[in-house]
């Protein structure tokens, strides 16, 4: 049981290392924030949605 736990910890630490090494992978194709940005841009084209979000026509949105 302890040996199995050790393997799990080693595996997770390796993954953590991989996360640090390959953090540049984060891009438009993988990030949920980019997806959210695209959805916001699409939604803000609608006047009613702009009113809900309190964004005036031509108002500043930090995207």
């Amino acid at each position: 049981m302890q040996k199995r736990m050790l393997w799990i910890v080693v595996f997770l630490l390796s993954l953590l290392l991989a996360t640090g090494l390959f953090s540049h992978v984060s891009s438009e194709k993988t990030s949920l924030l980019c997806l959210s940005r695209s959805v916001t841009e699409l939604l803000l084209e609608n006047e009613d949605v702009r009113m809900v979000f309190g964004v005036e026509d031509g108002g500043e949105v930090m995207l």
């Binding site: 997770l12 949920l32 924030l33 108002g59």
Partner: protein
């Protein structure tokens, strides 16, 4: 991995949950992962608040790839109170999405938009009357108020299977609409795996 406090409160963390977090961190900005955790944490706080108000005993918390889950005493409480307990988490996410909407109206930052969408998605997802989701559990408790337990079970099974099939198709269409976005596919995969595993292993 299970940790127990002296009072018997347990914390169970599935290795798949850690793997899930690491993969999310690999593919997303840390602020996004933090906001997602904040939403899930608020959801559980909602359940915990209702459980405390109803003076239920809380045994522990289980964290898996499909999210967190509180283990509370259910025997000796009415079905109406059970339904309220299951809806507590959804209510907490509703409040949080409203707060993010207020934040958008005052400070239209992309993270506020993400927080709003994520909490809204959590609300809509958990409202689905599907087995092992809060909406499903609440509906089953409400059905038990009006029908006998076996009949409520049969009605609920019909509703759950039908809604699951429709939700699966809608989800596939949504994923296709986003050109099978990697993080979104990962989320769906882990939720799916989590629900399948919960149905396989009986809850504590």
């Amino acid at each position: 991995m299970i940790f127990r406090s002296k009072r018997g409160f347990f914390w169970e963390i599935a290795p798949s949950a850690l793997l899930f977090v690491l993969l999310l961190l690999l593919l997303n900005e840390w602020q996004v992962v933090f906001l997602m955790f904040f939403g899930v944490f608020a959801h559980e706080i909602g359940h915990l608040t209702v459980a405390c108000l109803q003076k239920r005993r809380v045994y522990g918390i289980r964290i898996s790839s499909s999210g967190a889950e509180l283990s509370v005493k259910t025997i000796g409480f009415s079905y109406g109170k059970d339904a309220l307990l299951h809806l507590g988490g959804i209510f907490a996410n509703c409040v949080l999405s409203l707060l993010f909407l207020i934040a958008i109206r005052t400070y239209a930052h992309e993270l506020c938009f993400f927080g709003f969408y994520f909490n809204l998605c959590l609300v809509l997802f958990h409202l689905l009357p599907v087995s092992d989701l809060d909406g499903g559990r609440a509906l089953f408790s409400l059905l038990c108020l009006f029908f006998s337990y076996p009949r409520a079970g049969r009605i609920f099974s019909c509703i759950s299977v039908s809604v699951s099939a429709v939700a699966f198709l809608v989800l596939l269409l949504l994923l296709q609409g986003t050109d099978f976005h990697l993080s979104l596919c990962l989320l769906v995969l882990f939720f799916w795996f989590g629900i399948w595993q919960k149905n396989k292993v009986p809850a504590i």
